[in-house]
């Protein structure tokens, strides 16, 4: 194994901002900042529980767009992944987060931060299967 070039400061700062956002959403709106959960709830809405979810999605898009627009970060190089792979991956993430009730933000950040055993298990599982798939992709199908 070799270590790729990376910088610690933006990773830590970006992570801290994600944490701040999670605390803000709980403090102001009383909700956990799990993106798949927020989106899933908007797809199967209950009365009075829809607007904040849509607003959250818009805010997320605006935050990334402003950071990119101000040139704080550059747009990642286009990968042009094969269409079939993108669709398969999207379906896996959609089915998986709906069944497992969370993703990297809901389980990986908010869940672990509040010491939830469910989220710790979920995060270990998706890190392992994610690692296995990347390993297979890069070393057998490259």
């Amino acid at each position: 194994m070799t270590i790729a070039e990376f910088s610690t400061a933006p990773a830590l700062l970006g992570g801290a901002l994600i944490g701040l956002a999670a605390v803000m959403l709980m403090a102001i709106s009383g909700r956990v900042a799990g993106v798949s959960g927020i989106v899933g709830g908007a797809l199967t809405p209950r009365a009075g529980d829809f607007g904040w979810r849509i607003v959250f999605v818009l805010g997320l898009i605006a935050g990334v767009a402003v950071a990119v627009g101000l040139g704080v970060v550059s747009i990642p190089a286009a990968q042009n992944q094969p269409l079939a792979r993108l669709i398969a991956a999207g379906v896996l993430v959609g089915v998986g987060t709906a069944l497992g009730a969370g993703c990297t933000s809901g389980h990986g950040v908010c869940g672990i931060a509040r010491g939830s055993p469910r989220s710790i298990v979920a995060t270990m599982v998706f890190m392992v299967t994610g690692g296995l798939v990347v390993f297979a992709l890069r070393h057998y199908f490259a």
Partner: protein, 140 residues
Amino acid sequence: MNRLLGSFLSAFVFGLGLAISGMIDPAKVQGFLDISGRWDPSMAFVMAGALVVTALGYAWLRKRGEGLGGRRLQWPTQRTIDLRLVAGSALFGAGWGLSGYCPGPVIGSLASAGIDAMVFVAAMILAMFATLKLVNKSAN
């Protein structure tokens, strides 16, 4: 403060964080998951930064017992570790590794990334919707 405004501001900060941390780049995410090649440890620092701030903030809110302006705190109540949690997380991880996309970064990138993000999000939303419908139906 207004719940909708809070939601927007929080998500905006979330989006800034995702962009600054580099997590909107699927290659960087896959670089973290690929520990056998050229490992990119960035995501470990992102997680560490996020976890420290969230844990401290959540502890403060728990102690307080309510949010700003007396907002009721809706903590998740699910406790069971079952096959559904494990299988769902396993499938999610597989799709995450396959593409380098997870819901937050890919939805956040919709306005700034190319067609890849849009195709992925369309497939993800449809699959999420179908799964939630099926699961809710079988639960009733």
